[in-house]
């Protein structure tokens, strides 16, 4: 688990750097794709309900987004963790997506 968290920290750190310094040059309708948000949503959708790495990933991704944004620290943490919990506890309980393989 510790090794997985360490890998997540490194991956999300570089993703946020890429998003704030590289992807800002490639806007779609004046918006920059939020790859951290996409990764957190996809991870939580694919992860088994009993695993919690998706929520930890949301915490890490949110923290780095907060550091490199102008909002108070915790803004993106709350949004991403809330989203991850929603996907895990509510969405996956009532919605079945048969073609998604569990990882």
């Amino acid at each position: 688990m510790f090794k997985k968290i360490l890998i997540s920290i490194i991956v999300f750190y570089f993703l946020v750097l890429i998003q704030t310094s590289f992807l800002v040059h490639f806007t779609i309708f004046d918006a920059v794709p939020n790859i951290v948000l996409i990764l957190v949503v996809v991870w939580n959708l694919l992860e088994k309900r009993k695993n919690h790495l998706g929520i930890v990933n949301a915490l890490i991704g949110g923290f780095f987004l907060d550091i490199f944004s102008n909002r108070f620290i915790g803004f993106y943490v709350l949004i991403l963790v809330g989203l991850a919990i929603f996907i895990k506890l509510i969405f996956k309980r009532y919605v079945r997506i048969p073609f998604i393989n569990k990882i």
């Binding site: 750097l17 890429i18 998003q19 704030t20 310094s21 590289f22 992807l23 800002v24 040059h25 490639f26 806007t27 004046d30 918006a31 920059v32 939020n34 915490l59 987004l65 907060d66 550091i67 490199f68 944004s69 102008n70 909002r71 108070f72 620290i73 915790g74 943490v77 709350l78 963790v81």
Partner: protein, 253 residues
Amino acid sequence: MVVLIILFVCLMNFFQKEIRGFFYWFSAPIQKVLWRAGDSTSDFFQGIVRVKTLKQELDELKLENQELLSQVVGLKNLKKENETLRQALGLGLQEDFKLVLVEIISKDISQDFILIDKGAKDGIAEDMPVITQQRVLIGKISEVYEGFSKVMLISHKESSFDAKIQKEEKDISGVVRGQGNFRILFDLIPREENLSQGDIVVTSVLGGIFPEGLLVGRIKQIKKNDVEPFQQAEIEAFFNISQIETLFIILGF
């Protein structure tokens, strides 16, 4: 778990300047490389995508260039006349701005803020104006760290300042308001004033925030309503943040 997260968030916000400063210092070299790579890659792809419209744009620019050249000749004569009059009246020439060159490191993903690579140790303070080499106004310093600063772009929702359109007969004054996502509005223009598309908006000395005569943008669309006492106009900004690498901060004016 929830209590722990709330405690963690509170603690982080208490030391947010130090934490952010450390991360900016640690990440600046990587971000500079990424910003340059993104800039050159997007230039390359834009060249391919826009190859059809480039010919038309070139023709338009040539025409505009000719018009500007004729204006430059006229202005040179005026400058000469101005210098002669100043000498005759014993007035010194107006000093130029004291500038500091800075590089952009990153842009906030959801708000109109950018991060630059100079901070308090380079003599930068809050509210200092930020411009491009062509004297185009970008924004003002909103937060200063030891070696970094955050710039609030003029398109940010909280940004507003006095500006004017210079006309031959009379200047048209108004307020420039940021709308977010690089959109700018020229507001509070009296209804009887005649605006036209393409008019150039420059900063006015009225507000005291920015020096006079910095370029803001070009009028794109005029919104006039018979009921409202004021008219509004959308401004097309002269800057494209993703195409800029270096900026200048005005230390004093």
